[in-house]
Symmetry: C2
């Protein structure tokens, strides 16, 4: 059932990845994450959060004692940061290259981030670097694509 994937060698479900990422972002914004913050961010009910946190706790990815705050463990923090990096790379690509509005780019990224391979993400990020660089071979083709796209269906 376990597939080598991140530094501790386990493959998390999309759902648990979402929880981890939420905790990461809440911690970043507010230092501590509470169950209700996680619930409202993910649009689930409190008991769902309790269950998920228990799973993450068993896996050693969060620290949590009853009725208290939730904190990412060191490993949990690393994994969450990885997930968020993927999220960012995808969002940037969808927004800057494809020209999706930022909201849509984020929500699409949020779903795709769980099913994309690391190599693909790496290439996506590299392509972005290449495409927006005025000095590399492409000379700002992201910009050019968006101009072309706007004219396209006229």
């Amino acid at each position: 059932m376990f597939r080598l994937q991140n530094e501790i060698g386990l493959k998390l479900s999309s759902s648990l990845e979402d929880y981890l990422e939420s905790i990461y972002l809440i911690q970043r914004d507010q230092t501590v994450a509470r169950m209700k913050d996680i619930a409202s961010r993910l649009g689930v009910t409190a008991p769902s959060v309790t269950g998920a946190i228990k799973s993450l706790n068993k896996l050693g990815l969060v620290e949590h004692s009853n009725y208290g705050y939730v904190k990412l463990s060191e490993t949990g923090g690393k994994i969450a940061a990885d997930i968020f990096r993927v999220h960012q790379a995808l969002t940037d690509f969808l927004h800057i290259i494809l020209g999706l509005d930022y909201q849509k780019a984020e929500s699409d990224a949020c779903r795709i981030e769980h099913s994309i391979e690391p190599e693909t993400v790496r290439r996506l990020a590299d392509f972005l670097e290449f495409a927006i660089s005025p000095s590399k071979g492409c000379k700002g083709c992201a910009q050019k694509f968006n101009e072309w796209y706007l004219e396209k269906d006229k």
Copy 2:
């Protein structure tokens, strides 16, 4: 629970989309699809297929009577074709633009296809058209990126 998504207005699970797509491809290659073909293509056991086909049958997307062949209904065929178009667009993008080898492009596409929005796919396909065209603003930047990428880490 239903979200407007395709022409009959329902959102299928990733799993059911996979079944539909498999049947579509088997039908294309061999005219009729049998349960065991579907099972082996998806890497699941026969009872899993029986269950999934029952669900698709209830939704009116396949025709199937006990111990017989499976056939896509008209609606099922349209939805499957849509799914496959997304699959192709994604695969092409990952292979031609990002330079992933075809196998990896396909397997990544296979997972991403369930979570990407139609608008994003459209833009991806348009970007591909733009990027490989020698006449449009980009002048074959897909090619240039791949050359740059190969040199990158040297």
